[in-house]
């Protein structure tokens, strides 16, 4: 033995090959670099732009109370938590956030996950298994879809927001399955429309089905004080799992679920994502705590977000843009073919407005769009400047 061994295979060649394939197909992510915070005026790739694609709806990430609370927590408890929650990483601060959140959401209990994705992919596979069925809206977000894939349950989809189709699926599923779980986005991130959660809960109760809503884009945005979809429909505590995130309107990071104490007990004992990742650093928990506090005590942010949204939508519409059926601060500006959406986005960027194009197959071929996300930190001048650019470019590109 000894001597030269034959090369069996190139262990890592695929890394380069597959990346290059993506680049060739223009499917790789081209990361844009923020040189500022995520602020209404950001510096992106060296250019000063008005930001229309952050999820920082209420501009809370820049709120002095959140920043101060993060600093205080870090100073008091350190930079990291030292462990997963289950072993030695549950700090009093984490519990405080959960209690405050449950109170804010008007539910019995709440649980913080490391991220929204961790909540969905950790919890969904525990709620259902073989012999069960997940019924979901056809337009659900990727992070739900991944959670659903990890289960052995059957799956059925119903037409977007169509409760009568949902009822049909339930009728069929009722005879065949042990547990039934209905999953939907609260606010749909492509169109900005809202799931008819009141009706979904009603029909779910009829059939003894669980309800699970991913309210990532609704938390902090819809309902009184931005308390989310349960509050929006006045059905607080009636949705079995209200899942949300701290990384959008709340301006921090982290996933959350709100519901019964039974749900929370079950969830933290069973979700592998929760059990196996380190808990949030004190600074994160501190900022989360302040975020809820700000929502409770400073209603002006949610109000400003909606004032901005209404003004922006009204003006776009009067210019002749098709802005779809959005009911939220996500306003799609539908332009038609993909190439046009990309062109408009590029030109807007040149003019200092940062809004991303959403193209096929994320939306229908002839419904390519610019998706704008409103921010409570935008001034009227920001909006007027942006609207003026939309109008000018919309005319140049034969959209209006």
């Amino acid at each position: 033995m000894g001597g030269q061994t034959l090369m069996k295979r190139n262990a890592t060649a695929f890394l380069k090959n597959e990346y290059e394939e993506l680049v060739n197909k223009n499917l790789d992510w081209k990361l844009r670099i923020l040189e500022s915070g995520s602020t209404p005026h950001s510096i992106v790739d060296g250019k000063k732009v008005i930001m229309f694609c952050s999820n920082n709806y209420l501009n809370l990430s820049n709120h002095p109370r959140l920043i101060q609370s993060a600093i205080d927590a870090a100073k008091k408890y350190g930079a990291g938590s030292g462990s997963v929650r289950a072993i030695a990483g549950t700090m009093k601060l984490h519990i405080e956030v959960e209690k405050k959140l449950a109170k804010f959401k008007r539910t019995e209990a709440a649980l913080i996950y490391q991220t929204g994705f961790a909540a969905n992919s950790g919890l969904i596979p525990q709620l259902v298994g073989e012999g069960d069925i997940i019924i979901s809206d056809e337009l659900n977000h990727g992070s739900i879809i991944d959670g659903v894939r990890l289960t052995k349950a059957d799956r059925a989809v119903y037409k977007h927001r169509d409760v009568s189709e949902l009822e049909k699926v339930l009728t069929d599923a009722d005879k065949k399955y042990r547990r039934i779980l209905i999953i939907t986005d609260g606010v749909f991130s492509m169109d900005g429309d809202i799931a008819p959660m009141d009706k979904i809960v009603e029909i779910a109760n009829e059939f003894g089905a669980m309800t699970y809503v991913d309210d990532a884009h609704g938390e902090g945005v819809i309902g009184p004080e931005g308390r989310g979809i349960g509050a929006h429909f006045k059905i607080e505590g009636k949705i079995d799992v209200e899942m949300g995130t701290f990384s959008k309107a709340y301006g921090v990071v982290g996933g959350l679920i709100a519901g019964s104490q039974d749900l929370v007990n079950f969830a933290y004992n069973k979700s592998r994502t929760w059990l196996l990742s380190g808990s949030h650093p004190p600074a994160v928990a501190g900022a989360q705590l302040a975020a809820i506090d700000v929502l409770e005590t400073e209603p002006q942010h949610v109000k400003k977000l909606w004032d901005n949204t209404k003004y922006f939508k009204k003006e776009l519409e009067s210019m002749g843009f098709d802005i779809g059926t959005s009911e939220t601060p996500i306003t799609p500006v539908i332009v038609g073919e993909s190439s046009k959406a990309k062109e408009l986005s590029n030109r807007l960027f040149e003019e200092g407005v940062f809004a991303l194009p959403i193209v096929f197959p994320m939306v229908a071929r002839d419904k390519a769009r610019i998706r704008t996300m409103m921010n409570a930190g935008h001034t009227k001048e920001d909006l007027d400047y942006t609207l003026e650019k939309f109008e000018k470019l919309g005319k140049n590109l034969d959209i209006i």
């Binding site: 992070s143 059925a156 119903y158 069929d172 994320m362």
Partner: protein, 380 residues
């Protein structure tokens, strides 16, 4: 890259309709005597013009066609230039032989797509020559258009052509179906499934991550359906499974290593074929022997029939005995997007009524994935 399109017009297609004939196969003289006017030429021209006006990519296309009324005239009238005449008519009157001969030439020229203007009869003639070697797209102009190769109208066909040329559409199964015209004119009515051609279909997309989608091929979707059916057979080991006809089910059977007849009904028990290409009588006998039966169906043809077209062996008596709850409908999402209803026309009012009452069925569209689809029982 230049795409090669074989273009063929059946100038007499559709002429029987207005004069009350069920097609023009073998009775064109009678149709003309009754005052039938040609319609295919206009339909073909409309489609080509629509294609050109909206989409400025005709330079990338190389057309192969037949002289005169069988394609050349329409292409020239539409203003297309890159045209090769590959076939000349033997006489003034066109027949099925001309269509078939032209298709032989298309095969020789290795065209990427055959665009034809006609009805089920024309589709069948083309299919008999090219089988599933070249995808087929039909401009609807016949009296009967049950086959799954037609656009809904000229506009939609033009759009499909455009999407195909731009590689936005992919290739999938399309059933070739036709009325048995001889039987029909004698008052008997039977839509037969002649075979599975290649048509062009919308690709299926799956979300693979946040904001990223991957397009999956028709075969990949059918692989998922196969896994699903294999599980079903495994789970229900005391059931006899009847495999219906059509491309999707044929694929599933082949992948499950079950010997299947493409156009017929086969019976499978414990993963083995017990009888194949069954007629009504033999199915009824099997039902006596096996009390627990599941029937696998798939929507076929342009209208998405699951019962009543192309599978008349599955008589009302059989369906009632099996029970509606024991029917498993499978379909690729592409197929469902072109036929949003499941159509049922069993010829038995009571049974059609049962389906109508059910209103919808769950259709398996992926591995353990289904969606609800409405049932249509009105006769067409």
């Amino acid at each position: 890259m230049t795409k090669k399109i074989g273009f063929i017009v059946n100038p007499i297609a559709g002429m029987g309709g207005k004069v009350g004939l069920k097609g023009t196969d073998g009775v064109i003289n009678k149709a003309i005597k009754l005052g039938a006017k040609p319609i295919a030429e206009n339909k073909a021209l409309e489609t080509l013009k629509e294609f050109i006006s909206h989409f400025s990519i005709q330079n990338d296309l190389h057309w192969f066609t037949c002289a005169g009324t069988m394609g050349e005239n329409e292409l020239k009238k539409a203003g297309l230039t890159k045209i090769d005449i590959v076939y000349n008519l033997k006489s003034k009157k066109t027949t099925a032989i001309d269509t078939k001969n032209a298709c032989l030439k298309f095969l020789e020229k290795q065209v990427d797509l055959i665009l034809f203007c006609g009805g089920d009869g024309t589709a069948r003639d083309i299919f008999e020559v090219v089988s599933n070697k070249i995808p087929i797209l039909g401009i609807p102009s016949g009296v009967k258009m049950h086959s799954g190769v037609f656009g809904i109208n000229t506009n939609a066909t033009a759009k499909m052509l455009h999407e195909f040329v731009n590689k936005r559409l992919t290739i999938g199964d399309a059933e070739i179906m036709d009325l048995d015209e001889k039987l029909c004119r004698k008052g008997k009515w039977n839509i037969r499934l002649f075979g599975i051609a290649k048509g062009i279909v919308e690709p299926t997309y799956v979300q693979v991550g946040k904001s990223t989608f991957e397009s999956v091929t028709d075969d990949e979707v059918k692989d998922e359906l196969t896994e699903h059916i294999k599980d079903e057979i495994e789970k229900n080991s005391d059931y006899l499974f009847l495999f219906g006809s059509g491309g999707t089910i044929d694929y599933i059977a082949k992948k499950s290593k079950i010997k299947n007849t493409l156009l017929g009904i086969d019976a499978v028990y414990k993963k083995k074929v017990v009888e194949s290409d069954l007629n009504e009588e033999r199915i009824l006998k099997l039902l006596q022997k096996y009390p627990k039966v599941k029937l696998i169906l798939s929507p076929i043809g342009a209208q998405g029939f699951i019962l009543g077209r192309g599978n008349l062996q599955l008589s009302p008596k059989i369906i009632k005995k099996i029970g509606l709850d024991n029917i498993i409908v499978v379909s690729t999402p592409a197929k469902l997007s072109s036929t949003p209803f499941l159509r049922v026309d069993t010829g038995d009012k009571e049974l059609d009524h049962l389906f109508a009452e059910k209103e919808f069925m769950m259709v398996v569209i992926g591995y353990r994935l289904s969606r609800v689809v409405k049932i249509q029982t009105n006769n067409f």
